[in-house]
């Protein structure tokens, strides 16, 4: 896979714009050791290599060193957070210390480390990444939202509504032009749909209707939250009442679940179009487009100039113009435990090949791939759009 030449992603050149902050005055000899030169300033390219090996927190400390480093850091961060290149979130578990998280860019294998300071937060479980935030279980009674890059975090108590347990799926969306947010969670036992709205400071549990099926995924499209059930019924989530208005669509795909396995269906916002992706284990089966003009499902023959990224039981994302970021068009990338399975979506020629195996040279004993991280994606909802 070629890495394109004009990659906009800010890779590593943290000190590209460094201007030496030292004036012409003599260097104070703080130590007795002699230095061969007046200043033992390491050149920018070397500082870049060092900074590449630091985790996100240490890069933050770096930025506090002096004004010019702070400016460089700010530019680095702005570019980093605006980048459309997907990152793979991995967790590394070392027997001897706390787990660390990393963000890996697959085409160039560049890794950004984040050792979460567990003294402060003590999360127990990673659930998902949505709208710029890690969604983690803090204990059985609360969920924590934390932005790994800016450290803004919020803890939301769930004890009055549901117990936080394994396999929560969630979506975080912000109110359009406001600081309010909507937090949609599939959790508890039995798994149900719960929605927290900051404007109400409370949870609402949405009832399941057996005939349409249980909600298994959600996505934001045109400032509206859409949900899909295990029977491939799609509805609009109301934010003003505990209702889901299901769409009357033609040609609903007949999703026959394998006995014992629930189907893996995911809603995708692909270039402002609503898609439904049907996965069987780690392979893509079919992708449908919801055509709102004819109110019907249309099976896609090709993904066109898009690639899909999926993580089991989590969200599915689409990337347009994937070649620009080192990925292939019409391909599907599925992260599963320790690998990323790659398959091409077109006709019957859907070969699955593992793409990434854990980095064995690292000193950690085990890593697991968790999820995809699309840094630039931020969901916004318009409260006035849905009754």
């Amino acid at each position: 896979m070629e890495i394109p030449g004009n990659n906009d992603d800010a890779k590593g050149t943290l000190f590209h714009l460094q201007v030496t902050s030292r004036t012409g005055k003599k260097v104070k000899k703080k130590k007795k050791k002699k230095k061969i030169e007046q200043n033992s300033d390491l050149p920018c390219d070397v500082l870049d290599i060092i900074s590449e090996k630091l985790d996100l927190d240490d890069l933050l400390h770096f930025s506090g060193v002096c004004k010019s480093w702070r400016v460089s850091h700010k530019i680095y961060w702005t570019n980093f957070l605006a980048s459309q290149a997907p990152l793979l979130i991995e967790i590394w578990c070392d027997k001897h210390s706390k787990p660390s998280y990393s963000f890996r860019s697959l085409p160039d294998q560049k890794v950004y480390w984040w050792k979460m300071d567990q003294k402060c937060f003590r999360p127990i479980e990673y659930f998902t990444y949505s709208g710029g935030y890690f969604i983690m279980g803090k204990d059985n009674n609360s969920l924590m939202l934390i932005n790994p890059f800016t450290r803004i975090n919020k803890v939301i108590n769930t004890s009055s509504t549901f117990q936080v347990n394994l396999g929560c799926h969630a979506l975080l969306a912000f109110g359009k032009c406001s600081q309010e947010f909507v937090f949609v969670v599939l959790g508890g036992w039995p798994k149900s749909l719960h929605v927290y709205q900051s404007r109400n400071c409370g949870w609402v549990t949405y009832p399941t209707m057996e005939n349409v099926g249980k909600v298994i995924d959600f996505v934001v499209l045109h400032n509206i939250i859409y949900v899909v059930t295990d029977k491939a019924n799609i509805g609009v989530l109301s934010l003003n009442s505990a209702n889901i208005k299901f769409l009357k669509l033609k040609s609903t795909p007949n999703i026959t679940p394998n006995p014992g396995f629930k189907p893996h269906l995911a809603l995708v916002n692909c270039d402002e179009q609503l898609l439904l992706a049907h996965f069987k284990y780690f392979e893509i089966k079919d992708v449908y487009k919801i055509d709102f003009s004819t109110m019907s499902y249309v099976k896609l023959k090709t993904l066109g100039d898009n690639a899909l990224f999926y993580s089991w039981d989590k969200s599915c994302y689409s990337l347009s113009n994937p070649n620009k970021w080192g990925y292939e068009r019409n391909y599907v990338y599925v992260s599963s435990l320790s690998r990323v399975e790659v398959s091409v979506y077109s006709g019957d020629d859907k070969k699955c090949t593992p793409f990434l195996t854990p980095d064995e040279s690292h000193s950690y004993t085990h890593s697991f791939t968790l999820d995809w991280c699309f840094r630039h994606v931020r969901y916004e909802v318009d409260y006035s759009l849905v009754e």
Binding site: R22, I36, S40, L42, P43, L54, H61, C66
Partner: protein
Amino acid sequence: MAEEKSQASSSKMLTLKASDGVLFEVELNIAKEMKTVQAYIDDCEDIETIPIPNVLGKHLAIVIEYIKKTNEEYDAEFEKQWNMDDLQLLLLAANYLNISGLQECLCKAIAKRIENKSPEYVRKVFNIENDHSPEEEAKLRKEYKWAFEGVDKD
């Protein structure tokens, strides 16, 4: 880095002259690991003594030893022997001589030593002046409150 050399070339020796005049006789294949030296040799084949003006004898000795002995085990122990100043000077040497393996090893070592340290510590390490005003400094600490907690004591 397959070291298949014919008898003739592996026995060829080269002299490297450090900035303080110390001379080192090294085998050609060792010298060639230093890409800067390699470039020198490419330019003038018959050269026997190559000046290394930016590197002190004591550091050049360490660099040469590294090249001879480098492997995973050696690398892991290597960086532990040196203090921060020496690490930086060795890194400057590795950078000048263009030895990517040593450069990588030293960068890793320095990164490891500044991990979880305060900006003040990093300033001392790299000899940088703090040009933030007290107000700016306070604002910085407030903005990144979580990141500054749990930092190792200097």
